[in-house]
Symmetry: C2
Subunit: 197 residues, 2 copies
């Protein structure tokens, strides 16, 4: 049984959907998951985009918001749109999620932050919001922020982005199983099947 | 029971997959399908693209070809890559497909042309290839080309593109059920469910 790596960006709308369902599905399939927060901004910049493609291309954006509503309804997921801003700046949440890996609270923090952003119109670039989420998970915010903002952790997030690029990742959510890449919440089932094969 | 409109472009890789499965699925669900060939080129041009985004963004393109292979394997569909050229110029095939609507051979012609392009490395911008496909369907090529190239049919194809744009379509395959838009082969099932609801 191989591990599935779940690459996500906190600004990414469909990453929200995956974050809320990957744990349940992976347990059901018996596939271990590694949660890998990263940033799409630096990758999009290299493609010539200084904004989300959903903002750059309005027809695509309008479609995505409607599709997101439908997908969330199918999944029984709460959603409240629009989020505080889009794309959200996910760097603080990503640093925290990465810092939490050693202590094991990355999945719970990630799901809670996504829910705050997409279902509760809370601002996950705001330290108070992030602190409240951490407190809700019995994680000490001061300690978590110190770990998140340590130079080694910031560098680790850059390295995570660089690795994503090397692996051919150009969007989120993405999944890797060894060298095999899957893109999009719609490919979660296929990626899990690949990990089991 | 509402009709599902299937918007496709002959250059579009995932439109191939849909063209080969929509008939079967729609019959199983009892949903009528209207096949609506159109052209993405004029729509992409307005977005600033003079080429397929899969060529403009190499990481996305590399991923797409691999994903297409996997999807075809899952669907039991033949695929032989790369096609003669990509993106293919689908205008001749689209004009024929549109001309065939009155006589009812649009679905069969469309599936055969997609298969020639993506499973047989034949050139569907070549008149001989298109003639052979028509002959295989017991359609007289001379008559079909005359209908396809009639000014009214060329205009009808432009009108089809204009309608696609008005309906918010920005890629292919797309599906409309009334005002509801679905994008991508992955949304075929959701679009059929919407038509039945």
């Amino acid at each position: 049984m191989r591990t599935i790596e779940f690459w996500y960006e906190f600004a990414s709308t469909y990453s929200y959907v995956t974050a809320m369902r990957i744990g349940r599905l992976a347990v059901a399939e018996g596939v271990p998951v590694r949660w890998r927060p990263f940033l799409l901004g630096p990758i999009f910049k290299e493609l010539g985009w200084n904004d989300s493609p959903f903002n750059i291309y309005p027809a695509k954006g309008r479609y995505m918001w409607r599709d997101l509503e439908r997908v969330c309804e199918d999944e029984g997921l709460p959603v409240r749109l629009p989020p505080v801003r889009f794309p959200q700046n996910g760097v603080k949440a990503a640093r925290l999620a990465l810092a939490g890996e050693h202590e094991g609270w990355t999945p719970a923090f990630t799901s809670a932050a996504f829910q705050a952003n997409y279902a509760e119109q809370r601002d996950i670039f705001d330290d108070d919001t992030l602190s409240a989420i951490l407190t809700g998970l019995d994680v000490d915010p001061d300690r978590a922020f110190a770990a998140a903002n340590a130079p080694a952790n910031k560098e680790a997030l850059f390295a995570q982005v660089a690795e994503a690029k090397t692996r051919g990742i150009f969007g989120a959510p993405s999944f890797t199983v060894g060298d095999e890449l899957f893109w999009g919440n719609d490919r979660l089932e296929a990626a899990l099947a690949w990990a089991k094969a």
